[in-house]
């Protein structure tokens, strides 16, 4: 067994045993959390940006293996050998909820919103009421099935996705159980990389045990409808206890840029970059193998982009007619910026050596959005980019055109296969077909 050091801005990691903090030294043993698994596990990262794309500016030209990226994906050119552009895949526009609302949960769950009247559409369109999503998202299903012994089962990161409704939540552990992303990287840093020490650990253990006892005594005395909330709380406490008691391997964290107010829109680029650092470090340190990054949200992402010189809200301009060249130029500018940030993420993942390759080679990164085209709400030909080879499962450097004939549920199946769950045949409840997308994942 050899040893490696984490390069670049990642500090070396140390073993912290139990609740104590006994650093073992500068080198990493070539083991991950369990010490018994393959050296470099596959990781999954879902990446979201809102409001679809401009298809003609997004699509590559050329053949599957010899292609030129379109204007909106041009920033990915340095990484072209490590991506697959997946074009011509539809999402199913079914069920209740407005397009930008249902599209966000649909993207990774392949499932409809519940029609349980949780939300009344004040605007009355698209069905008078709607609810939270009806099923788990692909990352959570994979995390559950893999049962990895990492410190965190999954980590959810976000930027500018404040608010809580189906259009703001893309990750679900089960029906009606959205997972809120952590939107302040500097606050999240402590959770990921700073152990509280023995005293804090003991206080937390005592508090969670007491809370759990009380939850269990409340549970039989409340309506069964509410019991799932209590159960979920108990389950979270169980996981937290496990984490506190485990001989967890904690990393010394990456060095982030100086803390800024994550709520100030002008700071957005710095916040995105800090989240990218945390994601990279969390994967490199094997804190988790499943993560997601959500930039903004569906229904009302009407943020301006002052740092790009755009003061109109994104959602408003995304509804401009095709003839409005000025508006489309602004939209293109926003989408190119998204691609630049995606490229930065790939660059960071690719900078961490793992075996003969890099961390990126062992990742499956999938970039999606909640509608195909902003100004029509079309769910046809929603754009996807797959990056990283998933440990060799996905041959990259390709442009795959599916011609608008297949549903994205089959991409979700492919993702399960790439992550080692080859028995999955369908995913989601919108009836999006059986089997993986042909040719995406090596069989």
């Amino acid at each position: 067994m050899s040893a490696r050091t984490l390069s670049l801005s990642l500090s070396r990691r140390a073993f912290l045993t139990g609740l104590g903090a006994a650093a073992l030294g500068p080198y990493l043993p070539l083991l991950n959390a369990s010490g018994q698994e393959p050296l470099f596990p596959r990781r999954l990262l879902l990446f979201f940006t809102p409001h679809g794309t401009i298809t003609q500016a997004w699509k590559p030209t050329g053949s599957e293996t010899d292609f030129k990226l379109g204007r909106l994906l041009a920033p990915l050119a340095p990484h072209q050998s490590k991506i697959c552009v997946v074009s011509g895949v539809n999402m199913q526009d079914v069920g209740v909820g407005a397009p930008h609302t249902k599209g966000v949960p649909l993207l990774w769950t392949g499932s409809k919103l519940l029609d349980d009247g949780t939300f009344v559409r004040e605007d009355g369109s698209g069905g008078p009421t709607y609810g939270w999503n009806s099923s788990a998202s692909v990352d959570q299903v994979i995390a559950e099935r893999l049962g990895s012994p990492t410190t965190f089962r999954s980590l959810e990161f976000g930027v500018r996705c404040a608010g809580s409704g189906p259009s703001n939540r893309m990750i679900y552990s089960a029906a009606k159980q959205p997972l809120q992303p952590a939107t302040d990287p500097w606050a999240q840093y402590a959770r990921l990389f700073t152990g509280g020490g023995e005293q804090v650990g003991a206080e937390r253990l005592a508090a969670l045990q007491l809370a759990r006892e009380e939850l269990k005594s409340i549970s039989p005395k409340i309506a069964s409808e509410d019991r799932s909330k209590v159960d979920a709380h108990v389950a979270s406490l169980d996981r937290l206890e496990q984490r506190l008691r485990s001989k967890a391997m904690l990393c010394a964290g990456p060095s982030l840029s100086a803390k800024v107010n994550a709520g100030d829109i002008a700071n957005t680029p710095a916040v995105v970059d800090a989240q990218i650092e945390l994601i990279t470090a969390a994967f490199a340190c094997d804190l988790t193998r499943v993560a997601s990054f959500q930039y903004a949200y569906g229904e009302t992402d009407n943020h301006p982009y002052p740092f790009l010189g755009i003061n109109e809200g994104h959602h408003t301009i995304s509804h401009a007619p095709d003839s409005d060249a000025a508006a489309w130029e602004k939209i293109a500018k926003i989408r190119v910026w998204y691609a630049e940030k995606f490229a930065r993420l790939l660059e960071r993942l690719d900078s961490i050596p793992e075996g003969n390759g890099t961390l990126l080679d062992n990742c499956l990164v999938v970039w999606g959005t909640e509608v195909g085209v902003g100004n029509t709400h079309s769910f046809r030909s929603t754009p996807f980019v797959v990056a990283g080879g998933a440990g060799g499962a996905v041959p990259t450097g390709r442009y795959l055109e599916f011609g608008g004939n297949l549903d994205h549920n089959r991409l979700l199946v492919s993702m399960c296969h790439a992550m080692g769950l080859q028995d999955v045949e369908t995913f989601g409840n919108v009836d999006g077909g059986t089997g993986p997308l042909p040719g995406l994942v090596r069989t």
Partner: protein, 606 residues
């Protein structure tokens, strides 16, 4: 007595603290072994006669929820308020002898409630933004559906530890105790009992106290205050603090009931979070303990006391910021070239002005809906004074408002907070302003535009007013249906620019602020300018009912459902008859059946 109606019905109500409770002439059985008029398990739609086939609430839901139905999914509009209004033949008739109330799910404290509760428990200030985000029901924050996640639990741990650490130097004074005379242990027991009662909003059970005493023993060995800190931070992580726990009735005798009165501590909790946005104080908990919250005669003085508490301001701020969707003021951004008066501080000043105004009207003024919507005075400060064209010393020091030109300004909807929050970066937005009035102030539904319409407002032009540039979309019949309603109201605000400054001309032309309220059940009319519009809204039965409905939603911290419709109708009636007294409305909600009782989901096993 504040409402004639209420006074008459109050003497019919004999609320007893024991097993049998009579509410509005109807017996409710809350204990075992009683008999009487028990509400049918299957809720009857009011108006169905006893021998007619029963329509279930579910049927009513389906009828109300059909696509395209007006107010689908929410409550149908109320039957006419005035006696000469013919009742809607399709609407259920409400029967005051029967309590109908929607189910209240297990609620977790909102950010605001948590922050205020911790402030009152430990005298420390937390940043609400560091707490888990709230769900929304309608326009209001409230956590009723989604369970906590790992991240949320950890945010609560961090908040609790942080609060207890901040409070550490003062912790021993929060529950005063003579340590020299009684000793650390007895004082710790006292802390656990008193602080625990405030945090749990009820007395601790013996086994609960015992757990905390054990905790104190483990962590308070050398330093008593450290032990108290651990006790306090653990209590803040308890489900009994984080959730507003309302237990199902226990025992066989409750089978078949649909509505039961709240336990007095549960009622104290609802009262305090509704009226003061915080945890109940010792006096309210003592009133719960003594049974004083059970009878309206002794409940009323407590409600009166809460209405006099300065923390009513927190509730007023919370309600109005959410009702009119003013959260955006924190990040207000306007085109500096077009609006040289704009600065980031201006948004904060707008928010401050509106909150002071609301607070003055309700707490110091006549507390009427009319004043809220039409008062020709306000509290502009700092950079706002210039926007109003007032001198820097215009606002008196004595807490009194500045008189404004009554031809220009009338109440809340003519204040910069509303006008600037619902405007574009570089121009006004009659559409946004109209939309908020239609949905939030009149409780009317409005469909979204079709996806392929251009939602970008035409750029400001040197030779055309906003109205001239926008009116074109009414030429398209597919737009006209809604935009006659939206613009009809929104154009009324055109005398105010995108910052809320008064203007008489735009693009070299005089402002046309005429408009109409159109497509409502009983408020349709025409007007000229925002002052007249505000008057019409204050007089509108739809707006008055909507205001009562929004307050009930806020008070219950949950969406309203069909079963709550009669409560809204009753509150609206009383509100109208009281001269639209807002304090009276809050009092009436606190005394209402919907507020004081809860629907039984199921009977738990003992």
């Amino acid at each position: 007595m504040w409402f004639g109606q209420r006074a008459r019905s109050a003497d019919k109500r004999v609320l007893a603290g024991s097993m049998l409770l009579k509410v509005a002439g109807l017996s409710l059985i809350v204990g075992a072994g009683c008999s009487g008029e028990i509400l049918a398990n299957d809720p009857v739609v009011p108006g169905a006669s006893a021998d007619s086939p029963r329509a279930s609430a579910a049927d009513a839901d389906r009828e109300g929820g059909g696509a395209g139905a007006p107010n689908a999914g929410a409550m149908p509009p109320a039957p006419g308020l005035d006696e000469d209004d013919a009742p809607d033949p399709g609407a259920p008739v409400c029967d005051d002898s029967r309590i109908e109330v929607g189910a209240t799910p297990l609620q977790r404290l909102s950010r605001v409630q948590y922050t205020h509760a911790v402030r009152d428990l430990l005298q420390v200030a937390l940043d609400p933004d560091q707490l888990p985000e709230d769900e929304k029901h309608g326009v209001f924050d409230g956590n009723t559906v989604v369970p906590v996640t790992d991240l949320v639990v950890e945010q609560y741990i961090d908040a609790a530890e942080h609060a207890a650490r901040l409070a550490l130097p003062e912790l021993e004074t929060i529950v005063p105790c003579d340590r020299a005379a009684l000793g650390e242990l007895a004082c710790a027991q006292q802390f656990i009992a008193s602080f625990g009662r405030r945090a749990y909003r009820r007395p601790l059970q013996p086994e609960e106290s015992a757990r905390y005493e054990a905790l104190f023993a483990s962590f308070g060995g050398e330093q008593s205050s450290e032990g108290l800190r651990v006790v306090a931070q653990t209590m803040l992580q308890s489900p009994n603090f984080l959730y507003r726990v309302e237990l199902e009735p226990v025992g066989a005798g409750t089978a078949g009931e649909t509505v039961v009165p709240l336990d007095p501590y549960e009622l104290a909790t609802r009262l305090s979070f509704f009226l003061l946005s915080t945890t109940p104080d010792d006096e309210l908990l003592a009133a719960a303990e003594s049974g004083a919250l059970i009878s309206p005669d002794t409940l009323e003085p407590q409600i009166e006391r809460l209405l006099e508490d300065p923390r009513l301001s927190d509730t007023l701020a919370s309600f109005h910021l959410q009702w009119l969707e003013l959260a955006g003021l924190e990040h207000l951004s306007k085109d500096q070239a077009l609006f040289p008066a704009f600065s980031p501080e201006l948004g904060a000043a707008m928010r401050e002005e509106t909150l002071r105004f609301v607070d003055h009207v309700v707490r110091a003024g006549d507390a009427t809906f009319d004043s809220l919507l039409t008062a020709p005075y306000s509290f502009p400060q700092g950079p706002l004074l210039e926007l109003y064209g007032l001198a820097a010393d215009a606002l008196p020091d004595d807490g009194q408002p500045v008189a404004l030109d009554p031809q220009q300004r009338a109440g809340l909807l003519t204040q910069p907070a509303f006008l600037a929050a619902h405007a574009h970066y570089n121009q006004t937005s009659p559409v946004q302003r109209g939309k908020v009035v239609i949905r939030n102030v009149l409780c009317q539904q409005l469909p979204d535009p079709p996806p392929n319409v251009n939602a970008i407002p035409p750029d400001p032009a040197p030779d055309a007013t906003t109205r001239e540039r926008l009116i074109a979309h009414q030429d398209d019949p597919s737009c006209a249906g809604c935009h006659r309603r939206i613009d009809g109201i929104g154009f009324g605000f055109e005398s105010f620019d995108a910052l809320g400054a008064f203007r008489t001309r735009e693009a070299g032309k005089p402002i046309d602020a005429t408009g109409e309220i159109y497509g409502t059940e009983r408020s349709d009319t025409t007007f000229d300018g925002a002052v007249e519009l505000a008057r019409e809204l204050a007089d509108s039965a739809d707006a008055q009912r909507c205001f009562a409905q929004q307050w009930l939603r806020f008070a219950l911290d949950r969406p309203d459902v069909d079963a709550d419709r009669c409560s809204v109708d009753r509150l609206h009636r009383e509100f109208a008859q009281s001269g639209r007294d807002i304090r009276g409305l809050l009092r009436a909600i606190a005394l209402s059946d919907a507020f004081r009782s809860r629907r039984v989901a199921e009977v738990s096993t003992p």
